[in-house]
């Protein structure tokens, strides 16, 4: 077990399903997420793929209740995020590597968040060990390298030993060792029966980490598939991805000659 609180069998798999129903978000006149309907199941790593600006982060923020949808809804175990009794014990999220106060130590940051969901202090020390920040726990988080910031974000996500994990671009800024660490961590968490929903624009990385894929472009669902299915009939997964998303980017470069 990676983070060890309860045995995996204690998890109710129904309560771990992420369900998006016709989820829609507009910023001004621009539509960021457009009628997105997806079910994300427990027990596997689900990759959330799309080009830059395709609405991945917006979707994740709406699942967490940080952005209010203009239409549709996002449910975790059938419940809207703001209605959860213990949000951190239900959903763990890594949204960006800077969601902390730079003047606060990692331990104080984790202790404060733990207090809000009645999580014991012993769990703070546990997650610090899991992410390898025990020795740096008293340092001000602002002095951390990008990789350490990502690890602190992962520690926050694991804090409540949640059945659902949402990670937005978790490998950003990590070195090869860190990337491998994240990959093993996510696969281990899924193997324990958790729902792991991880966004990325790196197809190659997703091919190694994810079992299922949700592909979006311009806020719309392009495919809900497995890694093997998507790659079938193409030279590579990358080709398949470009074929799928070629009509769905807001930007296009031309040859630089």
């Amino acid at each position: 077990m990676v983070s060890g609180f309860w045995p995996p069998t204690a998890r109710n798999s129904v309560s771990c399903v992420i369900e998006l129903r016709e989820l829609t978000k507009r910023y001004g006149g621009r539509i960021a997420v457009d009628g997105l309907s997806v079910r994300v199941q427990p027990g596997v790593v689900t990759g959330f793929l799309g080009p830059n600006g395709s609405g991945k982060s917006t979707t994740m923020r709406m699942i967490l209740g940080l952005d209010a949808p203009d239409g549709g809804e996002a449910l975790v175990g059938g419940v809207r995020y703001p209605d959860l009794n213990w949000p951190l014990k239900t959903v763990g999220a890594l949204l960006d590597a800077g969601a902390f106060h730079p003047g606060r130590s990692a331990r104080a940051h984790l202790t404060a968040l733990a207090a809000s969901n009645d999580i014991p202090g012993s769990r703070v020390e546990q997650v610090l060990r899991i992410v390898g920040l025990s020795d740096a726990a008293t340092r001000r988080a602002g002095t951390y390298s990008l990789g350490m910031r990502q690890r602190l974000g992962v520690a926050v996500a694991l804090l409540g030993d949640p059945g659902v994990l949402l990670l937005d671009e978790p490998v950003n800024g990590l070195d090869p060792e860190g990337i491998r660490w994240i990959r093993d961590l996510l696969r281990g968490l899924a193997a324990e029966g958790r729902t792991v929903f991880v966004s990325s624009h790196l197809i190659a990385e997703m091919a190694l980490t994810a079992d299922r894929l949700v592909v979006i472009g311009r806020g719309r669902l392009l495919a809900e598939t497995t890694v093997a299915e998507l790659a079938a009939g193409h030279d590579s997964l990358e080709d398949a991805f470009f074929r799928l998303t070629s009509q769905a980017t807001d930007y296009r470069g031309v040859g630089a000659s």
Binding site: R61, L64, G65, L66, D67, A68, Y81, P82, L84, N85, W86, P87, L88, V91, A93, L95, D96, G98, A99, F100, H101, P102, G103, R104, S105, A108, H109, T111, A112, L113, A115, S116, N117, D118, V156
Partner: protein, 256 residues
């Protein structure tokens, strides 16, 4: 147990408030500013003729509250905008999606801390003034005199209320610079405007925070035309409540 509540969120806010340096700097500076102002006033009056009255010494030795209100107001602002500026707010709202519980906990924790610091600072100003006039003919002001005690306590209360106004403005504006600028503006500009009305300015002036502080709250007896110290203090709490309620309404539907 059926989910988190105010108690849990308040504990989170207490840990957050105590674990950044700016809190301790601002609190220390507020106490030092008032102690220094009080002592300075006392020393200045030592050789003053005619001999100063007890009321004169008290009124002036609490003058450091002008600085302390800015420091503790900034503390209140930063409790909110410090989170928006750094991205911490997303961690906070992910942990506690019922945002108004967060705002209530911030107000309670920051307001309580600022009240405590404000009372210490106010007492330090009083004490500085009294110690500095020892051995002179100037009569001492005793805290057993209700008028003296009232002024010292209400000045502390005023400082606590200023921090709460800061929390409200911070929630409304979300940006440290803009919110602190607005807070400082609200403290000084109305006083200048009230001054433009001359004699009749008092009708407006009795609602202006800084004028209430200097002429009604931090004095043994308010100057004619102004509310009593208690009413002025309640008015400050009303301003704080209004600012925080405004913030609470805006908080609900905003993207974080």
């Amino acid at each position: 147990m059926n989910g988190y509540g105010f108690r849990h969120v308040a504990r989170m806010e207490r840990i957050k408030l105590g674990s950044v340096r700016s809190t301790w700097w601002l609190a220390t500076a507020a106490v030092v500013a008032m102690a220094a102002a009080g002592t300075g006033v006392g020393l200045g009056y030592r050789s003053h003729t005619p001999v100063a009255t007890a009321a004169q010494i008290l009124n002036n030795s609490l003058g450091g509250a002008i600085v302390a209100q800015l420091l503790l107001g900034a503390l209140g602002v930063l409790v909110v905008t410090g989170e928006y500026g750094t991205g911490m707010i997303r961690s906070t709202f992910a942990a506690v999606p019922r945002r108004r519980v967060v705002l209530a906990a911030k107000a309670a924790v920051c307001g309580g801390a600022a009240l405590a610091v404000g009372l210490v600072a106010s007492f330090a100003g009083y004490l500085g003034g009294q110690l500095a006039i020892r051995g002179t003919a100037i009569p001492a002001a005793s805290l057993s005199d209700p008028a003296i005690l009232r002024a010292v306590v209400l000045t502390g209360g005023y400082l606590g209320a200023t921090a709460l106004i800061g929390v409200g403005i911070g929630t409304i504006m979300r940006h440290s610079g803009a919110a602190i600028g607005t807070l400082f503006g609200l403290m000084f500009v109305p006083m200048i405007v009230a001054g433009l009305f001359g004699e009749s300015g008092i009708a407006v002036g009795r609602f202006v925070p800084l004028l209430m502080l200097l002429n009604s709250i931090a004095v043994t007896s308010p100057i004619p035309g102004l509310f009593s110290g208690w009413i002025s203090s309640l008015l400050m709490c009303g301003y704080a409540a209004a600012a925080i309620l405004c913030g609470g309404v805006l908080l609900r539907h905003r993207n974080a």
